[in-house]
Symmetry: D3
Subunit: 227 residues, 6 copies
């Protein structure tokens, strides 16, 4: 079954709030419209002294509003320490993400790209892959990596894993909802020409779309698809 | 729509007869059973002095028998010179394959792997990609590369494009038909432990299957999927 | 000396007219403004039966107009057969490009990307590299590969050379001139969402710019820089 | 001297018990038969609460039985914490593996593949490489990476280091002993079609063998060979 | 502006004392001569029990003498624990290096290669990249990775990031000063044929030079250059 | 059996005379001393108008003298057109090299690196690999790629196949003979700092040696080793 007509649950893993919208916002909206139950897991929460409780609470509220706008069925806050996943025991991160995968039982998992510059992204990807291992008959039949503006393009070309998309989703009909959802993240968006601006996000959608002759698209790397 | 429930035409490009069965045999059988119109294009024909007319005719008959066994709807013989695609004008090969893609109008194209050791395979892949370019609204929405025993594993590791599959098709139900179809290629199959033996083909299917917890699978590299 | 304050001649190699504007248009305008002598070599000319003489003449006139708009000092037409570079003797293409490099004596060479889907691009890149070999004290001190919409993104991800830029040129001040110059190629540009549209070109410039916090940029792969 | 006629000690590093048999079982049997002193180092031990003492003791007994069956001269238990190597100080893991390399003084080191999905495998590989550095006249003259079913094929294609073998060992004569040894790991083996089943292991040996026209083989990536 | 005529500050990050001289010694001397303010950051300090205070103090004195000989303007000792960067919180390393980058405000950053065998090198590279992110208008316009004898060539070919230089600096005029500066590191240099010997360092300079037809050169990988 | 104690014939494929000495000279001398029958195949001959008959004859005489000095048993001149292998039918080049491989029946084949900048080198490599396919029980058990100064380092980093050696041969005892043999190629060697100078060749040997703690070494990429 195709990504968009498979009616099973979908899980989007976001190391930090807004990653899921930057990378998968338009696709989540299409999936929700098509009747899929879309889950988002925000893996980390900002903590003192790096972040105040108010900041953490604020961005959580922004995420919830953005998810509502996109039709997300449920948001899970795994509450791991932001910018400190490397200090958390790897097995514990595996357990947190693995437990959620078992609970949600998704047919499709969207994970951040292992070549992103943020160590949190790299570690989430590895734990997602561990959680989705095909070690029994039933497991997520699609694992896809998404790109994140202000993370994916800032790592070292040719020396870190490259994001070269091979799966495109037409988001011509949902781009506006994606941009609106991102606009709800007042604390995270930046003015152009910052990569995390509405203008850059729109340019990316236009370019990814043009590559497959669509008005707008989101692009992914297929990690494992099973038919 | 998924590879297997999309009812549109499918095109399998085989540089030489039997490549299509080695790489896509079980999937073709599943597709045909699911109601898809499966087309095979045999790109080259053996010619004197390398091959006698009898040899060329013999392997063509074998291909037709094998295709019948797998439910292939139509076999196209493009009749380019075998082992000599490098001597043919590249634009002519593009035209031959491009014309067929326009005529069949497939939703899925299976092409040989560009990292195969045979130059004919490398050139067919490039022409397939040119033919499938998304330069207008309508084009094949799936392009996949398949592996070929006795070609893919004999190239230079790390120095030529690697075959690292990311899309698996369960062929537990059609493996026997695949092996039977391959057995019809009396002129092409070899005794074990040759890579082009039934034993090696079965081992490959078992291994690719085990990677995704299935009794047998065929594995592909996703070049471009559009949803 | 930096790319933009080096006053020596610059050579941009374009397999087909418009590649040079798609990939290097904004940078050429900046270089010309900064006082550099910018040369463009159009390597191929369309020929019958693929192209009529009128078509070939028409696109040549478009190129000349576009180059004037960008401040190009001289356009060289090498007149090799379009879409047929693979049929031309490799040593002859080396000789044609090598002769021009000796005549222009550039400090910087811009070549098409070897991972582009068009064989002409791949062959031009190789010949450019041969022409720029550091086999004596004097040679082009900068060799850069540029990206071409409708070529670079349509090849096979992970299986052909990746375009992962590591050198960015701010074209905020010249983007409009680039887009105007491209608009002069009436025969080559397409309507959105085609990759070879003004909209896609603008999106690419915005995205490449955002990656380095500029309003617009062109991006390149550094092949060899010598200081 | 060749891998198999070099009579010096051999060291196989296994992050967890059974890795060494899955990847090197047939080769260890050939080496032992040829007169080499084969050492295995089991790097980790399962600990509470993840593993009970009984489990840890049980798998250790299985390993010892399997090693006897293969002619292993000595098994070393380094007793690092399983699934927690990332929490151990990297220098301590280097010291543990480095000390053993100095004590055993092997001519050949087999290490797990750095592209395996398990972080323990990745870290063992790096420490093995550190221990084998050629920083003085005498050091292990061969370092090879082996593949592990249920680890190597479950990582992310194209985004993590690829296992593309370039050194093959004919194990036609020892495959049965390898499979028997693996069968002694009652706690680790799984039913087909799990990757860690006897059927998958046999298919892998058949396929790796067919690639080099042998009835069965084990395949490795040569990291450094010095003659 | 070019690397060598840009008069802004330069920052060389060395995980351990002597890395900066091995990789960037001749270029630092050229930069200092050309009037640039060259800063070196020694990221780690050896600590008990691995290193005695006398050792740590001794190598620090060697570094200071070598830096004087090369015209370094200022040496910064970040005092992180040597061989233990993996045990330090990643965010703390980011903060230490990020703080220095903000204080020095370099136009060019030289970082160790992420493919070096030493984990400290890999982590310093990542933190350097984080510190140099183009998330605002002003940031280091050049980020380059350098090679380190006894680190870069001892990692795993094809399985870890490759050092394939694309930016060369002619050090014909400063090679002797580089070798003299390295000779001041009595505690770090080794007799030939060790990689960390004067003979090996001279051979590397000769070879890197020959690649670009110069008597001696240092070679780098361009990570990001912005013009 | 190891490379150096295997007494079977060895075949070194050189696209042009002197490649074999640049890449394999010291190893050939060691092999000959150890009793192996060393064959060299010079694949191409320079032809008018690019080369005069005198030039072609001259370099042939140089090659024969150099080979005598290294203990080469037999030199084969395949007489294909230099700098024009791309114009020769690929199947004919396969036949020429394949025929020689059958006649010499080598245990080890040394082929030029597929990432060399010269198309002749790339094509020779592919044909060597085709000739050495393991499609029957008996075939060359070792296939190695060698590096060639003035070819290997002048291709495009990260965009063409990388030469990252994993097999080193100690040539401390034969380096002088290698350099003397290369000095016999009066028509091919260049003054320093050209890459094809004695000084660069010595620096390469010193560096490759230092990597494995030897006074001098030649380095190779293992393509396929079968034990």
């Amino acid at each position: 079954m195709g990504l968009l007509d498979d009616k099973g649950p979908v899980l989007v893993l976001a190391p930090h709030p807004d990653d899921e919208v930057l990378g998968v916002g338009g696709t989540m909206a299409r999936l929700a419209e098509a009747g899929a139950e879309v889950h988002v897991a925000i893996v980390t929460t900002g903590r003192a002294p790096r972040f105040s409780p108010e900041q953490a609470q604020g961005v959580r509220a922004e995420a919830e509003a953005a998810h509502r706008a996109l039709g997300v069925a449920q948001t899970h806050f795994l509450d791991c320490p932001a910018a400190e996943l490397g200090e958390m025991a790897h097995a514990d991160l595996n357990a947190a993400i693995g437990g959620l995968v078992r609970a949600v039982d998704p047919v499709t998992v969207f994970a951040p790209h292992p070549g992103d510059i943020h160590l949190d992204h790299q570690l989430c990807f590895l734990s997602a892959l561990v959680a989705a291992r095909p070690h029994q008959h039933h497991y997520p039949r699609r694992v896809l990596a998404y790109e994140t503006l202000s993370e994916t393009n800032w790592n070292a070309p040719y020396l870190t894993p490259a994001f070269l998309p091979n799966l495109f989703v037409d988001i011509s009909a949902t781009l506006d909802r994606k941009l609106d959802a991102f606009a709800l993240f007042a604390s995270q968006q930046r003015e152009p020409p910052h990569e995390r601006s509405v203008a850059a996000l729109r340019a990316l959608a236009t370019l990814r779309g043009a590559t497959v002759h669509r008005a707008a698209a989101e692009a992914f790397v297929a990690i494992r698809l099973v038919e």
